[in-house]
Each structure stands twice: as C-alpha cells, then as structure tokens.
Amino acid sequence: MGIDAQAELQRLLLKEDVGEFLAFEADLLDARRYEDWLALLTDDIRYWMPMARNTASDDTGREFTIEDEDVNWIDEGIETIRQRVAQLATGLHWAEQPPSRTSHMISNLRVLESSDGLDEVKTRCRFLVYRNRLEDEQNIFVGKRNDTLRRVNGSWKIARREIYLDQNVMLSKNLSVFF
C-alpha cells in the first residue's frame, strides 16, 4: 500500500473510532447511565453552550455570547457537571422525575484536526437530541457540536464540548438533559 493510501486508511479508521465512541456516549446518556458517562469526561473538561442572537449578516461577531465573558446557556467544568449528576441521583429533581425519554443522534461527523500521536482530536458534528417526557411534552434540540477528544490510557475522553443550539429563544422550558 502506498503512503497516501496508508494515510487515508488511518484517517478513516480514526473517524470510525471516534464515531463509535460518540455513539457509545450517546447510548450511555439515553440509558441514563450518568455515572458511567461522567467517567468519559476529563477533569479539565469545558462544557459550554452559548446563546444565539439575531444579528444582521454583517454583524455576526455578536451572534453568539462569549465563553469567558458573557452569560451563556451552560458553562460548566467537571465539578458542576458532577453536581448535576448528583442532583439527578437524588430522585427529587422534579424536572427529570419521572425521567425524560431521550435519543441523542449524531451525524455529519468530521475529524478536523488530530495531534501527531493521534491522542487528541478536534471533531465537528450535528446533533439532534429528542426529548419526550410525561404524557405529551417534547423538545427537539438541533445544532452543531465541536468536541475535543483526548486519548487517556488508551480510551477516548471528552476534554471540551462546544454546543451551538440552533435556537434564539429557548423553546424548551429547561435544559435538564446533557448534550
């Protein structure tokens, strides 16, 4: 096999590997295995969802709120994500009691960058998170996700997640699901 073919094969294998990991992660969330999901996050994770403004097409610099400056929908590190999981585990978190039914769907996956040793990759995908709860309440969250994945002891972990939700006014009453 030539050099180019080797590189192409390596690229495809990496993408397959990453895609499998993200599908596995989605399965954990949809199965409500939150403690297992926490184990997929690095201790220095940034988990961030900006708000989107309606702006003129020549003013798109203001389209999204800024990570280290503004109020966003969500801006968390590992400690507070753990608190959210602890809240779910109390059985008293009424926003998720009874628990929602969710399906996390990932598509349009691309591996944008990878480090030399392939131990850190930047990926981009679309997500569709469907939530249905109680009798007739449903939400459809659709948007773009930029993830940074890091290989730790041979397994992928999530080091950074940017969640760009395609909504201005949040059409769901809350964000008690993970993305």
Binding site: D68, V71, D75, Q83, A86, A95, L171, K173
Partner: protein, 457 residues
C-alpha cells in the same frame, strides 16, 4: 358598566381563594393585555444593553414588541416596534446600533435624532412621498408610536404606556428599598452594579402570573429545591448549600402589589461569614466590601432581600444570584421568561467569573434550581384546564391574619416566614387593574416613612 368578569369572586382574598380562571382563561388573558400591560410600569431593559448613542435593544411590553434605544442626544426612549404603515417590525435584530430605523416592507424610515426631527420617532423617509402622497403625509402622526413614560432607575429601564401613570418611584413605594439591594453596589453605594452580557430568553407553558407570584414571596415551596440543596450547588463549588440562609420574611406592599422574601429594616448588618468562597481573592473582596458597607451605612436603616416581584411581571433576585427577570405574557398558558444578571461593576474578574458561573447553574433553563420551578408551573397549568379543576379555586390561606405592619416602611406588612400574604396582596392589586380603577382610586394610603432611610451617600 357590569364587567363580564366577576373579579371579586375570582379574587376572594378574604377567604383566601383565587379562581383558576386567572391562569387558564383566554378572555382573562386578553383583558390583562389591555388593562394591566398598557398601564403598569414594566421593566423593558437595562442601560448596559444600550451604552452608546443609537444603540438599540428589542424588548417587549405585554405582547407588544418595543424598541429600547438611546438617541444622539443620549435620551433613552421606547417605541412600538411595528411600522404605522402596515405593521412590519422595523427592527428585526435583537440588539445593535442604528441611526435610522427603516422598515423592510415598504421602506418608511424613522429617526430619533433631534437634530433631524422635531419629534423623536418621526418619519424621515417615505418612498414616493411626492408622487404617491402628493407630499401630504403627516410625518409626526405617522411616526413610530413612542412610549410616554420611560425611566432609567439605577441602570434598570422601565416604561409605562399610560400618560397618567404615577411617577415610577411612587409606583414602587418603599419596595424601592428592596429593589435597591439588587441594583446598588454590595458596599452600599447607590447604583454601582453592571450588566453581564447575554439575555436568557425561554418559553414555559404556564401563565405569566404563576412566575411572578412564585417570586413574590413563596418560601413554602422549598421542598421543590431539595435536590439542588442535596447536590450542594452553593457558590463555593462542591461544599456549600443554597439553603443555608436565615428564614426570610414575606414582606408585601398593600395597594402596590409588590412583595418579596427578605428581612425587615434593621440598623446593623446581618452576621458576616468570612472565607466562605474558598478562594483568597474572592474572600478578600467580600471582606473589603463588607467593611466599606459598614462604614457607609453606619447605624442607619437598611433592608435585605433574597427575591421579590414588582407588580405585574418583573421579578428579581437581589442577593446571590443577582438578576432581573421579565415574565412576558404569550398566551393564557405560555410565558416567555427573560433573565439578565448583575455584578458589582468594579469587582475583580475572579469575583465576576465566580458569580457568572453560579448564576448560570442556579437560574435560567440550565439552572439546577429554576429547572424544578418550571416543572411545577407547567404541571400546575396543565392540571388546571379541566372543567372540574376550574371549579376548585386555589388555596391562598397560608399565613392569613398574621400580617403585621413593618416599622420604617410605608404600607408594608410582614406576614411571617411561610405565608401567602404577598400573593394575596399581588392579586388584590391585579383585581384593581382588572376593574379598570383610576390611579387615584387605586392609590394606597400614603403614610410617611417614620425614619430616615440609608441611601448610602
């Protein structure tokens, strides 16, 4: 005129029963838009959203879209965001900077600049003005309707469409002192807070009053937040509870409709807990602010508040978190909530960052506390739409008869810790508006403040 609503039967605070029709009835909702939202003072924004001339922010008053803007002369103004010609929104971005608002439909354009127009909002551009209108179109009459009353109160911007509305400070009464605790600097200096960027906006399937009432003084619903308490979401990550506060009092303002959970006037500071943030820079800041506050206020009267509501649909958190909320009516069973957040303007970045993160995990749709409130409100609404449910008014009897006047505050009553006294006051005020009473007839008995109130400087 006999009104089609039997307001006094719907709001029977003598028995402590309030009809569910207030929360699910379309006719009641439509009447509120006219009778409450075209008269009352409403929060429309914050000066931090429009810091420079020609900045604008699109807000709401009732179901009306409005433009909050600052003209070249630095006057803050509010206009109806609907072209007088055919109704198109002339401003379709959330915020920005625009010298002239041009309607995208037929091209009418409007200016606020007094160097260009006699009356702000006046028409400055009309396509085919000569050919189509023979030059005979009244540019003032067909300008953007302008809200007659707008006030910048310590950075928060309020407006009322009623030219006869009382002055804003009279509308607030002594609730103003509690609102000040959200808008003032932590060291007691008047104003001194600034807005963080980003306006949270989200929809909830419940009536707008359910939101406003909740924040007006419902300490009783603490059970709803047990999961957030157990998860210890306090400001010092991982080791503090949000419920480690002394019991708040329900303090309401009869005849004004405002109320909150807080503390009656006192002449010294509540106990200070040092080193509670686990970060030397943040702990040092709060210590320094505390010292400055004690020096500034001395032994003068001051009040404290955790959460409150200004009638009809503005609520605020004044302690931690510190935010202003709008409950915009969408329909009888839907509200659009907005939240904006405040910090001390001159606080170090570490303090602002800590607060910003705490605000986001406490409040808003991603908030670990607020998310549970909203589950209550949507279920309350859904379970009140049935014919049988509507026959059963809600019970508002908690704390009835326990109301005591509050020394030092005009028209205030303290109805204890666990009380629905503030809700009863809120709905009595709502009833006055719904009966279309005149401002004179609605005016609360004015009793003079008996002591001088500390205003900082």
């Amino acid at each position: 005129m006999t009104d089609r609503f039997e307001i006094d039967r719907m709001v029977d605070t003598d028995r402590g029963v309030i009809s569910r029709e207030l929360f699910v009835n379309r006719d009641v909702f439509d009447a509120e838009l006219e009778r409450v939202f075209t008269r009352a003072w409403l929060l429309v924004g914050h000066e931090g959203l429009i810091p420079d001339p020609d900045d604008y922010f699109v807000s709401r008053m009732g179901k009306d879209s409005v433009i909050l803007t600052r003209n070249q002369q630095n006057e803050i103004m509010v206009f109806l965001n609907s072209c007088p010609h055919r109704g198109m929104k002339v401003c379709r971005y959330d915020q920005g900077n625009e010298a002239v608002f041009t309607c995208p439909y037929h091209g009418w354009s409007f200016s606020t600049n007094r160097d260009r127009v006699e009356v702000p909002g006046q028409l400055v551009g009309v396509p085919h003005f000569e050919a189509g209108y023979s030059g005979n179109l009244d540019r003032v009459k067909w300008g953007l309707p302008r809200c007659p009353n707008v006030i910048n109160y310590k950075g928060s911007i309020w407006a009322s469409w009623d030219p006869d509305a009382p002055a804003f400070e009279d509308y607030l009464g002594d609730m103003k002192l509690y609102l000040d605790t959200a808008l003032d600097h932590r060291d007691g200096a008047p104003g001194g807070s600034e807005l963080l960027g980003g306006v949270q906006k989200w929809r909830i399937r419940c009536n707008w009053k359910t939101v406003s009432e909740n924040f007006a003084g419902d300490l009783y619903h603490g059970i709803s937040h047990q999961s957030a308490n157990l998860a210890e979401i306090g400001m010092a990550t991982g080791k503090s509870r949000r419920d480690a506060l002394p019991l708040r009092h329900a303090i309401g303002f009869e005849g004004l409709g405002h109320g909150g959970l807080g503390f009656p006037p006192s002449y010294e500071e509540r106990p200070f807990i040092p080193d509670q943030y686990g970060d030397p820079e943040i702990d040092a800041y709060y210590k320094q602010v505390r010292t400055a506050r004690e020096r500034r206020l001395g032994d003068r009267m001051r009040v404290g508040l955790v959460v409150g509501t200004i009638f009809p649909n503005m609520s605020f958190h004044a302690d931690q978190p510190r935010s202003l909320a709008f409950a915009h009516p969408i329909s009888e069973t839907e509200v659009e909530m907005w939240r904006i957040y405040l910090v001390d303007a001159d606080a170090p970045k570490a303090v602002k960052d800590m607060l910003r993160h705490y605000y986001m995990r406490y409040s808003g749709p991603g908030g670990m506390t607020e998310s549970d409130d909203m589950e209550n409100w949507t279920s309350v609404t859904a379970a009140s739409e049935g014919a049988i449910a509507r026959r059963h008014g809600f019970n508002y009897q908690l704390g009835m008869g326990k109301e005591q006047p509050v020394e030092g505050l005009r028209g205030a009553v303290d109805s204890g810790n666990y009380s629905e006294g503030n809700a009863r006051i809120y709905y009595r005020r709502w009833a006055q508006f719904m009966k279309e009473m005149s401002w004179d007839d609605m005016a609360p008995p004015q009793t003079k403040s008996t002591v001088e109130v500390a205003h900082g400087d």
